[in-house]
């Protein structure tokens, strides 16, 4: 997506280091898609927060005091089964927000929100968000559309679980994660990926080994580097494309910024 790359490049040039640590809220696509006046109303209430790897922003069933708009971080929405097994139902990065249950009316949600890639984000108190949402204007329209895109992602992930191979799922996950990151280097252990995909660590090792052998990725302890994005594209299942297309479709017409 040229927008993201543009922003990244711009940031890297203009800023020394300070701005890198506290990126603009506009790096979040949802915030960036708001009309300028609407954004200005919210801006004073946006609070930059660091989001650390492994941090749990919201436990399953717990209410949230704030909603989060990741900029350089990625959050994983997970179900947790009774036997302790976990798995990702969707990811939230700079394209989205965390906390839709607030405006959907349920307040809580039975999923856990876990920081999967450390970075920065912005948060907004639930009160402010709800007020903005119920002005029935652009905020509501945008957030509902985002929610629909999220539903598609959840459904597609479920379908993918059922029908596609480990390797395909790994490729999907890598691509989706890559799209939310400024670089090709993911700080990520295989163990963590396994817990996201809801599979054994060994299965990830094997699939990643194949991709490495083919020269598509390389990795060392806790880092994965994507060498050949097209290579991933040629191994991934349709699910990646479907999810991306649906996000584009739903948020395209919502652009005003």
């Amino acid at each position: 997506m040229p927008v993201v790359q543009g922003q990244e490049a711009h940031r890297a040039v203009v800023s020394k280091t300070a701005l890198l640590l506290v990126p603009s809220p506009l790096q979040n696509h949802l915030l960036a898609a708001l009309p300028a006046p609407t954004f200005s109303q919210l801006a004073p209430h946006l609070e930059a927060v660091p989001m650390r790897l492994g941090e749990i922003l919201c436990e399953s069933g717990a209410p949230m005091s704030h909603v989060y708009f990741p900029t350089t971080s990625i959050v994983s929405l997970q179900y947790v089964m009774e036997n302790g097994a976990a798995g990702e139902i969707a990811g939230v990065g700079n394209e989205g927000m965390l906390g839709i249950s607030l405006f959907m009316g349920g307040i809580t949600t039975p999923t856990r929100a876990l920081v999967q890639t450390g970075g920065m984000g912005y948060r907004l108190s639930s009160k402010i968000l709800l007020e903005a949402f119920h002005r029935d204007g652009p905020v509501m329209r945008l957030l509902l559309r985002y929610t629909q895109a999220l539903i598609s992602q959840i459904a597609q992930t479920g379908a993918c679980n059922r029908h596609h191979s480990m390797e395909q799922q790994l490729c999907r996950w890598l691509l989706l994660t890559l799209d939310r990151m400024p670089s090709n280097d993911l700080v990520m252990t295989q163990e963590l990926i396994a817990s996201m995909l809801g599979v054994r660590r060994e299965s990830v090792t094997e699939a990643a080994g194949n991709l490495k052998h083919k020269g598509v990725i390389s990795y060392r302890r806790g880092h994965i580097t994507v060498l050949d994005r097209d290579g991933l594209n040629s191994h991934v299942c349709e699910c990646y494309v479907v999810v991306k297309a649906e996000f584009n479709r739903l948020l395209r017409d919502a652009q005003h910024h």
Copy 2:
């Protein structure tokens, strides 16, 4: 009270039991949960429609002219993969509605809506629904809550796909379907169940055979009868309970009727 079975038969024959075929709109829990004045506003626009087994109410990616509120029918929301394989992401019966993408803003959705159990329902033109929704009152609140419950169901189904056995999933599916039906007798072939669950027909045969052997269900060509609901409960995975609990939680506080 074999209503559905009756419907299939009666439709072909004459219907002096016509009243059985046109149940009250209030049999749909969402409509019933609306405050009386709100419901009265909508009532004149509600149109009773038969929904026949196998009918496709909405093809993947196609816009809908109406939203549907099933009363005695059940609709299955399905993803369709490129290779033709299909699977259910969620079901919609008398507890819900079909067509959330209308008010979510996306207009279309990448899932197909297939009638899984024949029966009756009510439909409402999208225009009327949207007007009601944007009055920002009880309708919006209720529909957003329902949408959140649907999200939970989709997520839980995906998780269940990954982690639980055929038999557990079959029990979950039977219980969820049973809850939406007036009788214990499902008009349903194993082939159809298999396509819902996204598995082979033979796998369903085996799992159903086990349940039959244990005396939990009985069946004959195209019919499944649940003999022992508690038996199903003792074989089902947690997913069933989670979904039901979330529906109850989200729609309980919304009751005004």
